[in-house]
Symmetry: C2
Subunit: 376 residues, 2 copies
């Protein structure tokens, strides 16, 4: 299978304010996006791919002159790949509040002229989906062949199917949940506290101080990483392996390889990720709970849905365990909707949705083939 | 069942240096301990209770004039309680490196005259057990009826049975493991990084600066708390319950009750716990791995053991899951040792070992009755 080769991001400015779920509004904003493949004549082959916490519009392909610039879902998307860009027109959009191009806390507030920082309005999954819908309006796409997403991206796919029921034919939600559990929120909250209590955070206005709350970002990322991996895969990859041949008996130096790995991940992350974006995106996760407006009844929630669904989960994912996907499947079946569900026995925990597991990719390949078969 | 009533800690100073596993030594030190019940004539009814991370020698009873000063295992230990102080002489010792009385990083280094801080030598489970053995020498107790501990305390009980095989008749190890998994170490490491990277930590010499790395301690405790509780019990106790009646749409304010609970636990902990102690104790956990000297073979490790064992684990404990206890049980059975094992279906996660679950306490009561029956 070939890669997409070089791709280029595009950008679109919206001057019409975006009303947000919180009651606030974003006066004007920019969305950065990428598209791959060609939109067919009746504009029926578009697939929107929604991103999770630490990702962007750059789904696949590489940037010219940039080494190691493969998109985050390059193993899935490209010519001949499971989401085949020879058949589909694939769209990746960077969400509002992100730090990868679309309007976010690092940008200037047009009302005050100051960098938003912590004043960037709190955005939700619904707000993101509304902004994505406006982008599709601009691209002239009335109905998507599918919306695809994993984790937080899966929540966006579910929201599309609930609030824009006529604008998609298939919803593909991987390793996701109908809402966060108390434990999920707890991990997010610890990560946020680490960032907010870092003295370099300055209440979210650190840009003006010329510093970055790297300590907090590092800790947040380390916590995240533990929850992305399964206990098993950590044991397999690292176990109790030491970095040196003998113990050094130190509380501050690295003794075990797992420590070295986590610190490296934390350092790398703190070099490029924005602290306010981290807060915003984890909050969007916390808030997502479509059943809330239906008395907590997930079956009633999906009564308005009309598209077909594919859900997939991974046996060792303890962040969004298979049981959470099964809750959604049950609610869909209660509404007699067309739903396929794959529970994939993979060792990699939550991270599995990003990896090239043959059974997992086999399921996606088959499902996209079905969708392609429905195209005229 | 009555409480023990008022109890008093005692203290003993040791001038003979303690050689440590790291190769260093502790020149002189003090151990704080408590005893309840009466040592019988042939000194055969002594039970040593070892503590875990956030606990001390104060197992049971209260301190005169101090409200809410119940010992941490008061539900288990006292007259007529499962560990019956009418029958047993119960000893609690505060471990070296702790911040509750025994010599630790908050004390003065007799060699330099400065507060130890981060220079307090790294202590291991084995060092603690060696120090406990010296205390028993002083008390004239040659052989213990039992050593009991949960979590890190269970590791000490196991170590007693391996390295002081003739000095105990029963080893009771609850909710413990033969060593930490990569995931366990990972959580410890994140907590340590939160503390060490707190600017108020000052390389572990914060005492001289008149500050306390409270931010780091808070985050460390919050992480700890998540791993002590089961996903289920968090869901039951907090779920997605909001603190206010409506969402406030804020990344920094509390929205969910679970956030409020975690912040409260973190704040409380940071008011009294010592940062260097936290590093030392989590490292002692990381290092514990008795099989290491036996090529990783746990069965060979227990070849030297001679006492009888009770192990117990809790179904929802994901920190030290039942599978980890079963590894120990298997190794004991491989050596044809007398072992009882209870896997208790309790919803509370790792914390269950501290709680008064009737099935759990029933098992302990029956086992201590058996031990009492062996007394002459």
């Amino acid at each position: 299978m070939e890669s997409l080769g070089h791709v280029k991001p595009q950008s679109l400015r919206f001057e019409q304010p975006l009303p947000l779920k919180s009651g606030a509004q974003l006066p004007s904003y920019e969305l950065v996006y990428e598209t791959y493949g060609r939109l067919n004549a009746d504009k029926s082959n578009a697939v929107l791919v929604c991103h999770a916490l630490n990702a962007s519009h750059h789904l696949a392909g590489t940037y010219e002159g940039q080494d190691k610039s493969e998109g985050w879902w390059d193993n899935l998307i490209g010519p001949g790949k499971p989401l085949d860009t020879d058949k589909f027109f694939v769209i990746g959009v960077n969400n509002l509040g992100s730090c990868f191009g679309s309007t976010g806390p690092m940008h200037s507030n047009p009302v005050t002229g100051r960098i938003y920082g912590a004043d960037f309005p709190v955005v939700t999954v619904q707000d993101w989906v509304d902004a994505q819908a406006r982008l599709l309006d601009h691209l002239g796409i009335g109905q998507l062949a599918a919306v695809l997403g994993g984790s937080l991206g899966g929540m966006q796919a579910l929201d599309w199917s609930l609030r824009y029921a006529d604008r998609l034919r298939h919803c593909i939600a991987i390793a996701t949940a109908p809402n966060l559990s108390a434990q999920n929120i707890a991990f997010n909250e610890v990560a946020r506290r680490a960032i907010i209590t870092d003295p370099d955070f300055h209440g979210g206005h650190f840009y003006e101080h010329g510093v970055v709350p790297k300590r907090g970002l590092r800790v947040a990322r380390m916590i995240g990483h533990i929850t992305y991996l399964s206990d098993d895969v950590m044991e397999q990859k690292f176990g109790r392996e030491l970095r040196a041949t003998e113990l050094g008996y130190s509380t501050q130096d690295i003794e075990f390889q797992i420590e070295s790995y986590l610190r490296y991940q934390g350092d790398k992350f703190s070099d490029y990720f924005d602290a306010n974006t981290y807060l915003l995106i984890t909050r969007a996760l916390d808030y997502f709970d479509p059943a809330l407006e239906h008395g907590g009844d997930l079956s009633r929630t999906f009564a308005s849905a009309r598209c077909k669904y594919l859900l997939a989960s991974f046996t060792t994912d303890w962040r969004f365990a298979p049981a959470r996907s099964r809750e959604i499947v049950k609610a869909l079946l209660d509404n007699k909707l067309d739903v396929s569900y794959a529970e994939i026995d993979a060792p990699h925990g939550h991270d599995a949705f990003l990896l090239e597991d043959p059974r997992y990719h086999g399921v996606l390949r088959a499902y996209f083939k079905r969708i392609a078969g429905e195209l005229t």
